[in-house]
Symmetry: C2
Subunit: 391 residues, 2 copies
């Protein structure tokens, strides 16, 4: 097991406090485990309190000995009920709560505990901002996630056979990935988000739009799980898209490659070539300092110039409005390469870039890589051969 280093956690708390000061917060509570994991190193059932002027306190409901082993924080206190925190916190004027994820009822109950006269503000933007840049410690873990992905993709050829269903192929790949350390989920900050950590879409299912905000959706297994792999049998000579995300020690790597059994129809061979071209041309422009929304527009212009305007990132009216999403302990974090984001893609940022083409009632293809911006260059962490694999 890899535990967060003391210096790493101290650095994050230090930077958080700088942002808290800017936001005039005297303290901030982190109820959501993604963020208290980031700030403490543990995902045990806990609540993290960071007072501006003092050391953070982690209140742990279950299980205290594991939390103490996993977190380098000094003040880790066992509690049975949330009310017990009162003896340990000072009354503050203005505090942060994670209002973007914490349910309304929970906020109301928590305010009664800490005092209704305290002003509250949303502190989630602070951790989102911090997490925009990855530390060498984090990049090290993401490299390991990418290495697991590489193993998984080289295993596809051992599993994928004509006549298997999409869910069967995905299930076996998932078992293989888990055996090698994949934690099985990709975390997304959204009440109703649900999907497997992977998509296996073949032929026409690649063109099926689902509830999820992504270029491809898939048919899913039932109206109660209407996204991703289905019982459709995989055939010869159709595009098979393998978008298989990995999570290792909480950190994700996201990537997509294309397969076919027999041969790949020319439509997809050509479109995939365009996807690769768009990927590299956008990455070059990102290096030159072009800001996010302009990168997005530039990619659309490229797709149009290459003759794929109608299919790029989905077909109308189902086109999605992003080409890339930051990735780390969440699947959709800063930076985004999207129509409404206006910042440059800077050193230390990690994001997945995924130019994809969807042909209505036919199928889909595309590429995806997890990319780290370094000083004056970029590095594709998901170092997996990009050629179409024909089985």
């Amino acid at each position: 097991m890899l535990y967060a280093l003391k210096e790493e956690i101290e650095q994050r708390i230090y930077k958080l406090k700088q942002l808290m000061e800017k936001s005039s917060l005297n303290g901030a509570f982190f109820h959501y485990k993604i963020d208290y994991f980031y700030l403490s190193g543990t995902m045990q059932d806990a609540l993290l309190y960071v007072p501006l002027e003092e050391k953070p306190v982690l209140f742990v409901k279950r299980e205290i000995s594991r939390a103490r082993r996993e977190s380098p924080l000094e003040h880790i206190i066992p509690i049975r009920s949330i009310k017990e925190i009162i003896g340990h916190i000072k009354p503050e004027k203005r505090i942060g709560l994670q209002l973007d994820v914490l349910p309304y009822n929970d906020v109301m109950r928590f305010r009664e505990i800490i005092g209704n006269n305290i002003e509250i503000a949303d502190c989630s933007p602070l951790t989102k901002e911090l997490r925009k840049y990855k530390s060498p410690f984090e990049i090290g873990i993401m490299e390991k996630a990418a290495a697991i992905a590489k193993k998984v993709y080289s295993h596809v050829a051992h599993i994928l056979k004509e006549g298997m269903s999409e869910i069967e192929v995905g299930g076996l790949l998932e078992a293989y990935a888990k055996k090698h350390g994949h934690e099985g989920l990709l975390r997304v900050r959204s009440l109703n988000y649900e999907a497997y950590s992977w998509h296996i879409l073949s032929g026409r299912t690649g063109s099926i739009v689902s509830q999820s905000d992504s270029p491809m959706g898939g048919l899913g297994l039932s109206p109660a799980f209407p996204v991703g792999a289905s019982f459709k049998k995989i055939k010869r000579n159709e595009p098979i898209l393998v978008d298989f995300g990995i999570c290792y020690h909480g950190y994700q790597a996201d990537q997509t490659r294309m397969y076919a059994i027999g041969s790949m129809p020319e439509l997809y061979t050509e479109a995939y070539k365009a996807c690769r071209e768009i990927q590299y041309m956008v990455l070059d422009k990102a290096l030159e300092g072009m800001i996010s929304k302009d990168l997005f527009t530039y990619s659309i212009e490229l797709a149009e110039r290459l003759g794929y305007g109608d299919f790029y990132l989905g077909y109308r009216p189902h086109k999605v409005r992003f080409l890339g999403h930051g990735i780390g302990i969440e699947l959709a974090e800063f930076p985004f390469i999207a129509a409404t984001h206006d910042y440059p893609i800077e050193e230390g940022m990690v994001f997945a870039i995924e130019p994809k083409m969807v042909f209505p009632k036919q199928g889909a293809c595309g590429i995806e890589n997890t990319v780290l911006m370094e000083k004056g260059t970029y590095r594709i962490l998901t170092d997996i051969d990009e050629d179409i694999v024909i089985l």
Copy 2:
């Protein structure tokens, strides 16, 4: 694909309106997909509005044609932004929102859209109450989930071998289950809940407490996924607990059986016998009309009488306070067999009952079944041989 019948959905809406009237609600919005799936039949990205005096309206963001195919509701309207609902709803005095799950910020934004002068109340208790009783349609689906579980358990013997890791065994079983229709998740109404739909715990990992409120926790794969199966290798002559939940068309079946390679140590053979005895004695008392919290206390008395007081439902201070949980489209719904619930277990209710014993630093064993209360009797839906399997 199995779609919800029109009469089924109409019946649910009819009963919901009765509860709305009792709660003085003029209308209710369902943002959380578990509940709008229950009331509409679709899990597409949508928002359901149920006015007390008129027919329900389903607003669909993505994807409208699938929502129309899946839901028998009459009024299904495509929207791009939530603001578009305004033209379609009448101003009401007091409306329900799902305040137990909807994030604080979302509630605030939504109030601005519908008007800040409208009184709001939590409408989640209404669907929770409705979902306490299952219809024949729902029971039919749960029987299918249980049939998949039966297949999975009979497949364990083909997979489980000495020297495999827990995660390897679980991953392969999961792949097999998905191939046969398991949707891969068990839904729980909680911000921070995360676990696989299954536990494979062997020997000492069965005694490891985790962040989750269950008798057993497991080691997990890392501090970022500290629950369930681990990389621990499975050995001969130790208890192997297989708690493998299934989800089919949204409906779950939950069950646990015990395995060993070589032989099962007597400690667990005997403790497992006690678990089975407790299960059946509690079910008999439930039939006699004993209320939930008394069933729970009765089970503790039984465990003590059988000499397992220190190990039943965990060891101190980590004992859990429930023996059973209602099950349906969520893993933890009404009815609970728990210390704080005071109602009888009635006809039409479905719940998982799980007497389990945990021996500190040694291991765990237990049984679990999904049970339907029928008129004057009960029926174990998870009809899987209960004997310990020795491989």
